[in-house]
C-alpha cells in the first residue's frame, strides 16, 4: 500500500491511515457520536457568521438532541425483531464545494456507527469555508473515541488510491454529479461492498392554474417560491428550474402572467444574490431559447427573474444558467409528465395538486424519477430520506437472530 503515503489528513491532525482502515465501527447512535453532533450544532448556532446562512442555521437546528432522539426512536422501531449494525467502513467522496447536504450524509453515516473515510478535493481542503472550518474544529476537540471513526483526507487524483479505498470499504458514498460518479466507478468495490451515488439532479415546480387563481395567499406563496428557487443562485439540486402548469389553456394563460408578476415582486424584495453578470446571462438564455425553440419571453418589470415559455420537449433539459431563470411548460393532466420524468428528477415543489393526485400519477405512470414532492417553501429542506434513499437504513445492515431466549 505504498501509494497511500500520498494521502494527507485534513483532520484529525496526526491521524494514521492504516489505523483508520483497521478501526472497528461503533454501534448505531453511539453516545460519543450523538454528543459530537450536538456540539457541532451548538458551534453553528453560536457562530455569528454561520447564523447569516439559513442552511447552516437549519443544520445547527437539525443537530439538536431532541431531533436525534426522534431519529433514533424511528430507527429502533423500524425492525423491532432484528439487530441493526453499522456497515463498517464508509468511504465518502465529498463534492468540490463542501455543502450542507454532504455534511448531513456524513453525520448520518457516523450515527449509523460507521468508520468514515472522507476524501475531500484539494480545492475544497484549501477553501476557507465556514462549514468546513467549524466541522474540522469540532472534530479536533472531540474524544479519541470519536476521532478514531472519522478521517478527512485529500490526495491528488490517483486511481490506485481510490481503488484501494474502494476495495477496502463496505459502503461508498459518492457526491459531485455525473462526472464524478462515472470517474469513481472506474474503481471497483469489493464483492460485498455497496454504494450510494448522487449524480446530477433536476428539480421543478408544478402548479395547478385554478388553485393559483383562486388563492388568497399569493404574496406568501410567491415568497416561498422565491426562497425555494433563488437561494444558492438557483444551483442547488433541489432548486426548481422549471414550472409546469396543470390546467386548461385559458386558466393557465391567466395564472401564468399573474404568478410571475407576484414572483418578480417577491424576488425584487428578497434580493437574493443579485449579480449584474447574471442579468446578462439570463438575457442570453432568453434569446438562446428564442432561436433554438421559438420560446416566448414572459414580460417582467425587472431582471431579478427571467421566464421563457417552451415546448414540452424541453422539460428536463438543463437551463444553461441559474440566478432566477425559469422555463415554463403546460400540461392538461399530470399524466403528461410521466414520459418526461427522467431518473434525475429529484424535487417537485407543488401547489394546488392534492396528495391523492400525486399518488395516482406515480402509481399509474411509474415515472423513472421524482424523489420527493413538497409544498412551496420546503424545497431546500433536508430530510433523512433524500434522493429516494433512507440514509440510516442504507448505511447500516440488518442482522436477523433466530435463537432461543435462553
Amino acid at each position: 500500500m505504498n501509494s497511500l503515503d500520498k494521502v494527507r489528513f485534513v483532520v484529525p491532525e496526526g491521524a494514521n491511515i492504516d489505523a483508520l482502515l483497521a478501526q472497528r465501527p461503533l454501534a448505531p447512535f453511539d453516545p460519543a457520536v450523538i454528543e459530537f453532533i450536538e456540539r457541532l450544532g451548538r458551534a453553528l448556532m453560536a457562530s455569528p457568521q454561520a447564523r447569516r446562512h439559513p442552511e447552516l442555521v437549519a443544520l445547527g437546528f437539525w443537530a439538536r438532541g431532541a431531533n436525534i432522539k426522534r431519529m433514533k426512536d424511528r430507527f429502533d422501531a423500524q425492525y423491532p425483531d432484528a439487530l441493526r449494525l453499522a456497515r463498517g467502513l464508509a468511504f465518502h467522496i465529498a463534492p468540490s464545494n463542501v455543502d450542507t447536504i454532504f455534511v448531513y450524509s456524513l453525520l448520518l453515516s457516523m450515527l449509523a456507527g460507521n468508520v468514515n473515510l472522507v476524501r475531500m478535493s484539494s480545492r475544497a481542503a484549501q477553501q476557507s469555508d465556514l462549514l468546513n472550518d467549524i466541522l474540522k474544529q469540532v472534530v479536533e476537540d472531540s474524544s479519541a473515541r470519536l476521532r478514531g471513526i472519522i478521517g478527512i483526507v485529500r490526495y491528488d487524483h490517483d486511481q490506485s488510491i481510490t481503488d484501494a479505498f474502494s476495495r477496502h470499504c463496505d459502503v461508498r458514498v459518492v457526491w459531485g454529479g455525473d462526472g464524478t460518479v462515472e470517474l469513481i466507478r472506474n474503481s471497483p468495490l469489493s464483492p460485498g461492498g455497496t454504494e450510494l451515488t448522487f449524480p446530477n439532479k433536476y428539480s421543478l415546480a408544478v402548479v395547478d392554474a385554478k388553485a393559483w387563481l383562486g388563492s388568497d395567499n399569493k404574496a406568501a406563496l410567491a415568497k416561498d417560491f422565491v426562497n425555494d428557487s433563488l437561494w444558492f443562485g438557483q444551483m442547488a439540486c433541489s432548486s426548481p428550474r422549471a414550472l409546469v402548469w396543470r390546467g386548461a389553456p385559458a386558466d393557465v394563460a391567466q395564472a401564468s402572467g399573474d404568478f410571475w408578476h407576484h414572483v418578480e415582486a417577491a424576488a425584487r424584495e428578497a434580493n437574493l444574490g443579485w449579480e449584474d453578470a447574471g442579468a446578462v446571462a439570463k438575457l442570453l438564455a432568453e434569446q438562446d431559447n428564442a432561436v433554438s425553440v421559438h420560446a416566448s419571453v414572459v414580460p417582467l418589470e425587472t431582471n431579478f427573474i427571467s421566464v421563457v415559455r417552451c415546448p414540452i420537449a424541453l422539460l428536463g433539459e438543463p437551463n444553461g444558467t441559474g440566478g432566477g431563470f425559469f422555463r415554463e411548460f403546460h400540461v392538461e393532466a399530470l399524466e403528461e409528465l410521466g414520459a418526461s420524468a427522467r431518473r434525475n428528477w429529484q424535487t417537485v415543489a407543488s401547489f394546488g395538486v392534492p396528495k391523492a393526485d400525486w399518488q395516482a400519477f406515480l402509481l399509474n405512470a411509474q415515472p423513472q424519477g421524482i424523489d420527493r414532492i413538497v409544498p412551496f417553501g420546503h424545497a431546500l429542506n433536508f430530510n433523512a430520506i433524500w434522493d429516494g434513499i433512507d440514509f440510516l437504513t442504507s448505511l447500516t445492515r440488518i442482522v436477523v437472530i433466530d435463537a432461543p431466549q435462553g
Binding site: S96, N97, F102, W175, S292, S296, V297, P299
Partner: protein
C-alpha cells in the same frame, strides 16, 4: 443612408444630429435583419410588442449569442470573411459573417478613425508582436486579425519580437530606429504584449529606444495588468520613458462589432466615432444609465449589414462620462470601461469534480 456617415467628420457631429442619423439607420437595420436572419427574427418575435430589451429600434443582443448560434443575414455564398473571437477553453468562439460590403465599410471606418489620430500619412510602423502571429491565414486568431487590420495604416512594417519566445529583436529594433531617426513612427500591439514583452523587457535590459514623436496604439483589455497593479498612467509613463512614446492611445472594441473602435483621446477618455455609439444600461431592468452612473456597456453601430450585430450588450462594465464636451475637443459620447462584469463562483451540490483534476 450609410454613405452619409462617411460624409461627416468622424468626431465632430453634435449630438442632436448624430442621434437622429443613428437612430434612423439602426431602426432600418433592425427591420432588415429581422427579415433576412431567421434567428434574429425569432428573437424579435419572442418578446411582446413594447417588451424588447433596449427598445424596438435597436434591441439588445448579448455578444455571446454569436457563440451559441450562427446568425447571418446573407446567403453562405456571399460570406466574404468569417471572424472568430478567441474562445475560452470549453466555449465555442463567436462567429461573425462578413460580406464584401460590410468588410469594406469596416475598413473605411477604421481608416477614418485611425487617420484622425495618427494623421493621413502612413507612418513607419512597429508591430509589438512576432511575425508568425499573422502568417497562417487559416488559423486566424483575433490577435492576428487585429494586427493585420492595423498594418494598413503603416508602412515598412517591423516586428519587435523575434518569435514565440517573445524575445525582443534588438537588431530589427535598432535598424528600424536608425532608418527613422527624427521621424514620427507609430507602433501597435495588444496591451498585455506591449507591457509584458516590450516595456518590461526594455526595463530589464536597462536600454531605451530612441524614438521621438512616436505614437503607441494598443488594445486588448487591462485585466492582466490590473492583476499586476499596473495603471494606465504608469503604463504611459514607462512607454514614454523607455521608448519615447509621447502619445499613447488605448482602444476598446470587439470582434462581434468589428469597426466599432473606441479610441482613447488625449484626456484619457474613450470616444464614440460617428458610425457607432455607446449606451450604458442598468442590469436590473436595462434602462439607460445617467452620465456618471456605472452599468453594462451596450454598443451600437451602423456598419453590420451582413449579420445582426448592430446593437450588442457586452459583458463589460462602464460609465458614460459626457457627450460633446470632452476636454480634448472631440464631440460625441465619451466613456470609461472598467472591465468584465464580476462573476461569482458557481456553488451547488452537483459540481463536476472530474473536470477539476
Amino acid at each position: 443612408m450609410i454613405e452619409s456617415f462617411f460624409e461627416v467628420p468622424v468626431y465632430d457631429l453634435p449630438k442632436a444630429e448624430k442621434h437622429a442619423m443613428l437612430q434612423a439607420e439602426l431602426r432600418e437595420l433592425t427591420a432588415f435583419h429581422g427579415i433576412e436572419c431567421e434567428g434574429y427574427r425569432a428573437i424579435l418575435d419572442a418578446y411582446g410588442p413594447g417588451d424588447l430589451p433596449g427598445g424596438a429600434d435597436a434591441p439588445l443582443i448579448p455578444v455571446s449569442m454569436f457563440k451559441l448560434h450562427d446568425l447571418s443575414s446573407v446567403p453562405a455564398d456571399k460570406v466574404f470573411k468569417t471572424m472568430t473571437s478567441s474562445g475560452t477553453t470549453g466555449q465555442r468562439p463567436s462567429r461573425i459573417f462578413l460580406d464584401a460590403d460590410t468588410a469594406r465599410l469596416q475598413t473605411r471606418a477604421l481608416t477614418k478613425i485611425m487617420t484622425s489620430f495618427i494623421g493621413p500619412k502612413r507612418l513607419p510602423m512597429l508591430i509589438i508582436d512576432h511575425p508568425s502571429v499573422v502568417k497562417d491565414r487559416r488559423t486566424f486568431s483575433a490577435r492576428g486579425a487585429g494586427i493585420l487590420g492595423m498594418m494598413t495604416f503603416g508602412r515598412q512594417h517591423v516586428f519587435a519580437l523575434k518569435d514565440e519566445t517573445m524575445e525582443l529583436d534588438w537588431e530589427a529594433l535598432e535598424t528600424f530606429a536608425a532608418a527613422n531617426a527624427g521621424q514620427p513612427i507609430f507602433a501597435f500591439g495588444f496591451t498585455f504584449m506591449v507591457w509584458r514583452h516590450f516595456i518590461q523587457q526594455l526595463e530589464q535590459s536597462g536600454r531605451k529606444l530612441p524614438f521621438d514623436n512616436a505614437i503607441l496604439i494598443h488594445s486588448g483589455g487591462w485585466k492582466k495588468l490590473e492583476a499586476e497593479k499596473v495603471s494606465n498612467a504608469h503604463f504611459k509613463q514607462r512607454a514614454s520613458d523607455l521608448a519615447g512614446f509621447g502619445r499613447v492611445h488605448n482602444f476598446y472594441g470587439m470582434v462581434e462589432q468589428t469597426g466599432s473602435i473606441f479610441v482613447e483621446c488625449e484626456a484619457g477618455h474613450l470616444h464614440a466615432p460617428v458610425f457607432a455609439d455607446v449606451i450604458i444600461r442598468r442590469p436590473v431592468d436595462w434602462s439607460e444609465c445617467d452620465i456618471g452612473e456605472t452599468g453594462v456597456i451596450q454598443v451600437v453601430s451602423v456598419l453590420p449589414r451582413s449579420y445582426p450585430g448592430h446593437s450588442l450588450l457586452t459583458e463589460d462594465q462602464g460609465t458614460l462620462l459626457g457627450e460633446d464636451d470632452c476636454a480634448c475637443g472631440r464631440k460625441g459620447k465619451y466613456f470609461a470601461v472598467h472591465g468584465r462584469l464580476p462573476k461569482a463562483e458557481i456553488r451547488g451540490c452537483s459540481d463536476t469534480f472530474a473536470s477539476n483534476q
